[in-house]
Symmetry: C2
Amino acid sequence: MAQRIRGVLAPVITPFRPDYSPDTDRFVRHCRWLLANGCNGLAVFGTNSEANSLSSGERMALLEQLVAGGVPPSSLMPGTGCCSLTESVELSAHAVKLGCAGVLMLPPFYYKGVPDEGLYRHFSEVIQRVGDARLQLYLYHIPPVAIVPITRTLIERLLDAYPQAVAGLKDSSGDWSHTVGLIAAFGNRGFDVFAGSEVFLLRTLEAGGAGCITAGANVNPHGIQAVYGAWTAREGAETAQGSADAVRKVLQSSSSMIPALKAVVAHHAGDPAWRTVRPPLAELGADEEQKLLATLEELHFGMPGLRMS
Amino acid sequence: MAQRIRGVLAPVITPFRPDYSPDTDRFVRHCRWLLANGCNGLAVFGTNSEANSLSSGERMALLEQLVAGGVPPSSLMPGTGCCSLTESVELSAHAVKLGCAGVLMLPPFYYKGVPDEGLYRHFSEVIQRVGDARLQLYLYHIPPVAIVPITRTLIERLLDAYPQAVAGLKDSSGDWSHTVGLIAAFGNRGFDVFAGSEVFLLRTLEAGGAGCITAGANVNPHGIQAVYGAWTAREGAETAQGSADAVRKVLQSSSSMIPALKAVVAHHAGDPAWRTVRPPLAELGADEEQKLLATLEELHFGMPGLRMS
């Protein structure tokens, strides 16, 4: 088996044209910039990608264009978890066939209060129907948004049944005690836990986790990679974590993370088209955007090499 | 414009084969039974239809097979609201082209805490992109499941912009004061409010609402139509409402409504295949099912004509 993906992954924001169709050129360009500037991998089609506002067909077309555009599939962990079993299987099989490093799967999230038995059947059917030994499935626990959780009982049952395919989890609970509990419970079974925010990166690595998959990596890949690099080099990790936290704190203070990330990219790329978000989201107001950019400026924040020539 | 659909609508449960593929024959048969036994219309692909566990392709195929199977499109109000604008447009346009009476649209439900501006853009884009004067759009307010609400501000803005297309709303808030408030606010603008449960049917009709779209109509269409008929005839409506309430109370006491409805249909049709639910749901336990059926028996509950010959 190839070495598993680790380190800093960005849930890549998805650019849209004025008619809300995905903008492939800007998407490929941003993915290449992220990989050249600190990201170890790209969790395309995550929450911050507005992927749940895309159809399955749009996701598959974008993924193919990304690979055709020169982004190595070994760096990709696309989101493939949909409400329907049918689409979750289709997207996961498609990603595996393209050679992606893994897939990041939300639980089906429309029905609430569903039994673990039903969730187990969903993931189990996906693994069996994809039927490919290359599948590396990362579970996506994000209770504030999906509402439906991935419980420890469910993880245990899936790991018991599919120890090769079930590769890890992204924990976006925002609760460090939960993350460290998962690492302690399953880390020794080859289960790679990624924190859902860079603020937990150093602690995750020290506890034996695999890295982070975080919104902030869309705009601050250097700063977050600095934490990972310093931890590997055993020098200066706490200072680097402090600097990454400062940027995160500013991003998180905005009323809505996705339009905030897009406003920052639009500004630093000198490319206002990046501001567009697909409904049901809406852009930040002008005042809020100005304040966000000014606060980042005070931190001497920059995105070198992003500006379009 | 044709007369709008009113009365008792069932969010039709969807039968599955053992491999979880939709079972078209059983679906068409159940739809025909419902129309012959008290339903004025069929809100196929609703929450109780496990429609959010189906792909868009599966929904469109089933709808075409239903119409081909002799179910009049004028009786149909399919659910077409998806998380993605792309799919919501595709399903809504497809339903309108088939001649459906209306479409019942969930808001995009993955992202939480989204602004009304973003939701307005979503519905507005659907209406414009469908671009067909026949479109009758019913908004679907079901905060306990979708979490994302349809606010009164949003309804007002949509009605102002699209008075012909925006036809009404299904209120599954479970809060009567909310339902009656919507009827009072928008009823005089041709906005048809359906209650989300038969327990509110008589009150809804008395307040000027259009009827109900309710899980219970899958198994008790006679009993619920009796309320509607008695209200129209101005005789015996309260007695009929009491009888309908008694059946609803039993259904609602089960741990999960959808498998409960399927267990009741499986039993009364003499057709165990009906028990199958698609992940992430799971069937009722045997003990719970026995108790549910026995409690209905005590009410002399029946589904005449359902048994397969």
